[in-house]
């Protein structure tokens, strides 16, 4: 009861802060200073697969549509027009047509037209002459047959079959429209957009600077004169920089729970929020080789997990247990709790689960006198290593002696692709809280990001069925069924979904941290500084 009251107080105080900031008259001017956790590989959002690229470069661009930047939970209901004035689905739900704004110019002065929309998505679908150096989200557009234009201000996406999720994918921070007249190579170093801020410079390992776009099509915006990201790889230095006032905001969703306490103790006035980031920590299992080609051992592994212990140790209790889709209330597609608890390994009685796991291990020929010896491989990054160590400790209880195999980040994916591992600890980030993105990318047969090569044709049929379903309630039930089946199949056991913190100074107004994605909330067009 006390915790409910505390939560209510916290929610009220956040609402109060939010109301005050909204109520005040926005002031123009000032440079918004944020530290960046690392030096992004390029400035091209379409070629990146990390929010290290999205965060600093999203303010340069616009999408056709975008998730409302002031509603934390992204959903189909929060999609707003941006470069599009409006959109409409055809009667057969196979064509999505956008009417485009006529008052938009690229930062170099050239007009934005429907041709730019076609260019961008043709390039993403691999249909154009110009190619991206890498194209990690090509699969998002698998159902798009072609993009057509009708004059300069109308573009249509013709689909192979209905896919209501397409609009959500287009609303992600990962889906900006690029100019036709600028090459992909130039976009990696000197990006040109239509967004509220123009690119000034990107000094690797040093800083990224953006300046106000005075010709932004939304009149009166942006309020800020510019945004400066200082790249600070040392987390302690970065946090001290924020505390000492050198920065107005921390790098979004990058402050761990223990560090958040430090920040609050040193800078009590800082506004800090903790939100889920739709990143799951999971186990990848090489089921194509012994010992994990044995389903009993895979099931035993899933039964051995004490998920609450992971969350308690790593996040002081501030994390969530769930399946593939982000848990409720922030996740839109999460299984109901009672359904989740029916899945082997998710029940509350850990000891009972482990007893069952030990029986399965004994059936597979292992026991107190004969332990299974394996390696748990993971990337040499703290957020990977720490849970891997806890995992090693937990699976000791089911006769598995594991050794930590720390892999250099450059070698991680090649190693996984070679299947040179038996058990791996992995993190999976979802750009959009949308089953199509998660299921096809991570579990579809032959998908490039399906690291474990899990392949179940029956489930794949369900993927398509849910993807085509236009009735939301029906679709949700299908998604739950799929998610449950994926966990029962031990396709990629999900350990937990993390929560992370973001802090900013009280004079920073209109910042909203998204609660079901870390990739979509950084346009910053109406952020202002009350100084």
């Amino acid at each position: 009861m006390r915790s409910v009251q505390a939560l209510a107080v916290a929610v009220l105080s956040v609402l109060t802060i939010s109301d005050v900031s909204r109520a005040a008259e926005p002031k123009s001017g000032g440079i918004f200073r944020i530290y960046h956790r690392d030096s992004p590989g390029s400035a091209s959002i379409h070629e990146g697969a990390t929010y290290s690229v999205n965060i600093p470069f999203m303010p340069i661009f616009n999408n056709l549509v975008i998730f409302d930047q002031h509603i934390a939970q992204n959903s189909a209901d929060t999609i707003r027009p941006e470069l599009a004035e409006s959109w409409a689905w055809s009667g057969d739900n196979k064509t999505l047509t956008f009417k485009l704004r006529k008052d938009v110019k690229w930062h170099d002065g050239k007009p934005f037209t429907a041709a730019d929309v076609k260019c961008t998505f043709d390039m993403l679908m691999g249909k154009s002459q110009q190619k991206f150096r890498q194209n990690p989200r090509k699969s998002w557009y698998d159902q798009v047959d072609e993009v057509t234009t009708n004059g300069d201000y109308e573009a249509s996406f013709r689909l192979k079959r209905p896919q209501p999720a397409l609009l959500s994918l287009l609303a992600s921070g990962y889906s900006p429209v690029y100019p036709c007249h600028v090459s992909p190579a130039e976009m990696r170093t000197k990006p040109v957009g239509t967004g509220p801020f123009k690119f000034v410079e990107f000094k690797a390992n040093e800083s990224i600077k953006l300046t106000k776009n005075p010709d932004y099509f939304k009149k009166g915006l942006p309020y800020l004169d510019g945004i400066e990201f200082t790249i600070i790889t040392n987390r302690s230095t970065a946090i001290l920089g924020f505390v000492s006032g050198k920065f107005d905001m921390t790098f979004p969703t990058e402050v761990s729970i223990p560090l958040l306490k430090d920040v609050k103790s040193q800078d009590p006035k800082a506004v800090c929020v903790v939100e889920p980031n739709n990143v799951s920590t999971n186990i990848i299992i090489n089921s194509s080789a012994p010992p994990f080609d044995n389903l009993d051992i895979r099931r035993a592994l899933a039964l051995a997990l004490d998920r609450k212990a992971f969350i308690q140790i790593m996040f002081e209790g501030q994390g969530d247990i769930g399946g593939t889709m982000e848990p409720a209330p922030d996740g839109l597609w999460a299984m109901p709790k009672e359904m989740l608890e029916q899945i082997p390994g998710y029940g509350p009685d850990i000891e009972k689960n482990r007893e069952e796991a030990r029986k399965l291990m004994q059936k597979a020929g292992y026991g107190p006198d004969k332990h299974l010896q394996i390696k748990v491989s993971t990337r040499n990054i703290a957020v990977y290593r720490d849970p891997a160590i806890i995992l090693i400790d937990q699976i000791k209880s089911i006769y598995i002696d594991a050794e930590l195999d720390v892999v250099d980040t450059a070698q991680w994916f090649p190693k996984i692709a070679r299947k040179d591992y038996s058990l791996g600890l992995n993190l999976t980030g979802n750009a959009v809280d949308e089953p199509d993105q998660s299921f096809y990318e991570n579990y579809a047969c032959g998908s490039e990001r399906n690291y474990t090569n899990y392949c179940n044709k029956d489930i794949e049929k369900l993927f398509d069925q849910q993807s085509e379903e236009t009735n939301l309630d029906k679709r949700k039930k299908l998604v739950w069924e799929i998610d449950k089946k994926l966990q029962e199949d031990v396709a990629r056991p999900i350990i937990f979904h993390a929560r992370t913190g973001t802090c900013w100074k009280p004079y920073v107004k209109n910042v909203t941290i998204m609660s079901n994605s870390s990739y979509n909330g950084y346009r910053y067009e109406d952020v202002w500084l009350d100084k």
Partner: protein
Amino acid sequence: MFAYIVRRLFLMLVTLFGISVIIFVLLRVVPGNIVDILFDAAGFVDPADKANLERELGLSQPIVIQYLHWIGGLLHGDLGYSYVSEKPALEEILPRIPITARLAGLALLFSASIGIPLGVISAVHQGSKLDYALRVVSLSGLSLPSFWLGLLILMASVSLFGTMPIFNPNPKTWLEALTIYAVPAMAVGFRSAALTMRITRSSMLEILRQDYIRTARAKGASEASVNYHHALKNAVLPVITVIGIEAAFLIGGLIVTETVFNIPGIARFLVEALRWRDYPIVQNLVMFIAVVVVVVNFIVDMLYAAIDPRIRFGD
């Protein structure tokens, strides 16, 4: 002397050639290249895309061809392009050199200006409370890792002054400009100063026991004249050697110091380039550092002759 210099210059070239081969081979022996990393970040591997990118970056060529291409370019002043930023490597490296040079210069200055006088004082007052106190200071200098010391300094300055001396490319006052270099220089130079102090002390103690020092005292020379004119001049030779070696070791210390104080110098840049396997940057930076180390060692050898006329290299 001339023959010696020519011989040393020839040896320098051979050393640099050896280093170039070692760097080049070692970089390619380390598993993973930029293409692996880029595709790792993207989370998938399309073999055709990968092969295209490897071809585009010249990584599919035989290693000997790649080496000759690099050395050929180097001799013509063409350092190639950074794989990550896609800018000329020279454009990436050049602006960072003065930053690290300033930092390293200040650290060495700090090391010499603190280490030598304190070493002399410690030796002259051997066995006194002052000597013991200075020895504790020097021991702590050798024991404290510079990154830890750096973090302590940052935490203390935030706690005491509400600000911190991290790098700012456009300092507003001369004091800020000095602070952003001097504080990290002290953090990284503390260990070096401690080492210099210990070497100076032991070298001075050895010299102070020599017969000619006793003779100088017997002839009525003042203590200051004995210590600084007769003893220090002879004791300083091993100190110069140590400072020369420390100049090379400093790069290692600067990697962490530049990271902690967020200074965009070449040491931190080198680590980042290594992380990305950005060969053109790593190769050229390591070669640059190698040249600096070889040249510093050469200068140290020349200083021997200048300071101690008994040394005749040509003999």
